[in-house]
Symmetry: C2
């Protein structure tokens, strides 16, 4: 989890598994601490939509996360794939700490901090690919 | 599949399911025709790596694809999620047609066209989200 690209990335994509066994996919913003990645449910509309990933992670905690870089010069493509085990933080100190990390990384969170569940992913595998 | 954002997008992320039931995730370039999305395996190194998605799609064809837009103004975020059923084209006219579509969209493919399998995803659901 020492990758500078991973630390600098502003957005990632989180794959969970739907109850019907199909993959579910959503973009996330995230913060890192140690080997754990944190992502919060924000207060925007369509909240029920966004909670799907949380319910999926509760039921089947093995998740996959991708950070990738695209540009038209394909020699400069790269991606980083993380596999890990998710925990849903509904309350508690670790959730508060995650909010602080997210607000530190994303000024957008400062006026209106997230107040929902936090998804904590304990990363067990990191694969980095460069063209 | 009439979304101008979807048509204009240069990169997407494909989620399949690994044999151990965990989600697998990789960035793809793609071309659209009708309700089908095409993506090819290129000739870059790490080919065995990239074939994982193909073998996954053969075994469990229900896949999910995400196109998303990130910028620091979160009022301008959007994403489009596609669910569909994948077919692997190892040869034949549809595969050749897919190569032509990909070369038309991506000049990068013109000097060195892909020569591997094509993943054709017949899209059954499109969900578009805008902040």
């Amino acid at each position: 989890m020492q990758s500078p690209r991973l630390k600098a990335a502003r957005v990632a994509r989180l794959a969970t598994t739907d109850p019907d066994d199909r993959p579910h996919l959503v973009p996330i913003v995230f913060a890192l601490e140690g080997d754990t990645l944190y992502s919060a449910v924000d207060q925007k509309p369509k909240r029920s939509q966004k909670l799907r990933r949380i319910e999926n992670a509760r039921a089947r905690p093995e998740v996959t996360i991708l950070v990738d870089h695209y540009e038209e010069d394909w020699d400069r493509l790269w991606w980083i794939r993380l596999r890990g085990r998710a925990r849903v933080l509904d309350h508690g100190d670790e959730r508060e700490r995650a909010f602080a990390l997210l607000q530190e990384k994303y000024p957008q969170y400062r006026p209106e901090p997230p107040d929902g569940a936090v998804l904590a992913v304990d990363v067990t595998e990191v694969l980095e690919w460069t063209a």
